[in-house]
Amino acid sequence: MSKDTQLDLWEVFIQGKSGNPYVHAGSVHASDKKMAIQNARDIYTRRGEGTSIWVVPSNNITASNPHDADMLFEPSNDKIYRHPTFYVMPEGAKQI
C-alpha cells in the first residue's frame, strides 16, 4: 500500500448570523483553500448554522501558552475600576 495522505489540517470559523462574530466550529482536512471551504460547508453548516465561513491552516494559528495564563490574565483581576459598577453614582441621578 502506498503511503497514505490525509491532507492538511484547517481550523473553521463560522458566522452564524449577519453581524455576529465568527466562532470556532472545529477542523477539517483539505488540500487547498477551496476544498477547505467546501468541506467546512458540508461538515459544519448542514442546518443553516452559517452565513459565512473562515478557514485558516491550523499551523498558522498562534496560541497563548497555558503556562502563561496567570501572567497574561491575572493582572486584570485587581482593576475593578474598569467596570462601571465600581463607581458610586449620586443619589437621584438617572439614565447613567
Binding site: 497514505d4 495522505t5 472545529g26 477542523s27 488540500s31 487547498d32 476544498m35 461538515i43 448542514r46 497555558p66
Partner: protein, 315 residues
C-alpha cells in the same frame, strides 16, 4: 514539575469544574484514555454508515431516501468532528485509520449486526441512535473541551435520527399484518444489542475508575442503560410493539424498570470479531479507503501544481 505535581494540579482543576484543552498539562493516562475513547467513537460513526447505506437504493419512497441520505451524511460528519477532537491530542488521522484496520481500535459492537429489512432502519434510528443519544447527552459535560464541544454539536443533530426511526416503526405498526410482524421482528433483534451498547455492568467495567476520576465519564454504564430502558418502554407501548424481555417489569419501589439478564457471552463474542458482520464491515472500510487513495493523491498533486503556479506569478 514532577509527574505527581502535574497529576495533583490536574485533578484540582478537574475538581473545580475546569475543562481541559489540548495544550494544557495532562497525565499520559488521560491522553491515552481519551484517544482510545474518542477514536472508537469516531470509528463507530463511520462504520455505522454501512448498515444504513445498504438501504439507500431500496428506501420505500423518495422522502424516505432523502431522509436516510441526510442521516448517513450526518454520521459521516459526526465521525469527522470526533476525529478532529482526537487529533488535538497528538494522534494523526492516518494513525487512527491504521489502528481501525489492524483491529487495535474498536468501534461499537452494534454495527456488526445486519440491517435485514426496512424495519431495521426504523429500529436502528429509534433504538440504536436512541441509546447513543442517552450516552452522548451525558458526554456533553465530559472534561475534555474538544470532545465536549463535538458532543454538543452531535446531540443537536441526533434527535432527528431517533425521531425518523420511530416514525418508520410507527408507520409499519399502522400497516398490514406483515408490516407489523416485520417491525416486531426488527425490535426483537435490535433490543438486546442496543442495551449492550452501554457496555458491561459497572461491576465489570475495566476503564471506569479513571474515567470517573478524570470526569471523562459522569454517569455509569448501568445508570445510562436504565435511563434508556425507562424512556423507551413507553414509546414501544404507544405504537404497539412488545419489548422482547419477559422479565421487564415496572418496579414501583425503585421507580425504574427491572429487566432480564443481558447475554454477555454474545457481547464478548462480537467484540472478539465473531459477530454476524465484523468481517464484512472491516473489509468494506479497507476496500473503500484504498480505492479512494488516488483521490487524495490527486488533491495533493493539484495543490503542488497550484503552489508552483502561484510562486511563478509572485517571483
Amino acid at each position: 514539575m514532577s509527574t505527581e505535581h502535574i497529576q495533583n494540579a490536574f485533578q484540582q482543576r478537574l475538581d473545580k469544574g475546569d475543562f481541559i484543552e489540548p495544550k494544557d498539562d495532562m497525565p499520559d493516562g488521560y491522553r491515552t484514555h481519551l484517544i482510545r475513547q474518542i477514536s472508537q467513537h469516531a470509528h463507530s460513526e463511520v462504520i455505522g454508515m454501512q448498515p444504513e447505506g445498504n438501504w439507500i437504493t431500496r428506501a420505500p419512497s423518495l422522502r424516505a431516501k432523502q431522509i436516510l441520505l441526510a442521516k448517513i451524511q450526518d454520521e459521516g460528519g459526526h465521525g469527522l468532528y470526533l476525529y478532529s477532537a482526537a487529533e488535538t491530542l497528538g494522534i494523526t488521522r492516518s494513525e487512527m485509520i491504521q489502528q481501525l484496520h489492524s483491529g487495535k481500535a474498536k468501534y461499537s459492537n452494534i454495527f456488526n449486526y445486519p440491517a435485514l429489512t426496512w424495519a431495521d432502519i426504523g429500529a436502528i434510528g429509534w433504538l440504536v441512535d436512541g441509546a447513543a443519544i442517552v450516552n452522548q447527552v451525558s458526554l456533553q459535560r465530559t472534561s475534555f473541551g474538544p470532545y465536549s464541544r463535538a458532543m454538543v454539536r452531535i446531540c443537536k443533530e441526533e434527535s432527528f435520527h431517533q425521531r425518523q426511526g420511530y416514525e418508520i416503526m410507527a408507520h409499519m405498526m399502522n400497516g398490514t399484518a406483515d408490516q407489523k410482524e416485520m417491525a416486531q421482528d426488527a425490535m426483537n433483534r435490535w433490543w438486546w444489542p442496543a442495551l449492550m451498547m452501554f457496555g458491561p455492568h459497572d461491576s465489570d467495567s475495566p476503564h471506569s475508575g479513571d474515567a470517573f476520576k478524570w470526569k471523562i465519564k459522569r454517569e455509569s454504564n448501568d445508570e445510562l442503560r436504565q435511563r434508556f430502558i425507562d424512556k423507551t418502554v413507553q414509546q414501544a407501548e404507544v405504537i404497539g410493539l412488545t419489548i422482547p424481555d419477559p422479565k421487564l417489569k415496572w418496579n414501583e419501589a425503585k421507580n425504574h424498570y427491572d429487566h432480564g439478564e443481558i447475554n454477555w457471552n454474545e457481547f464478548h463474542e462480537v467484540i472478539r470479531g465473531n459477530g454476524p458482520c465484523n468481517k464484512q464491515r472491516m473489509e468494506h472500510h479497507i476496500k473503500v479507503h484504498e480505492a479512494g487513495a488516488w483521490v487524495r493523491e490527486a488533491a495533493e498533486a493539484y495543490k503542488k501544481k497550484r503552489l508552483n503556479k502561484e510562486s511563478l506569478v509572485t517571483i
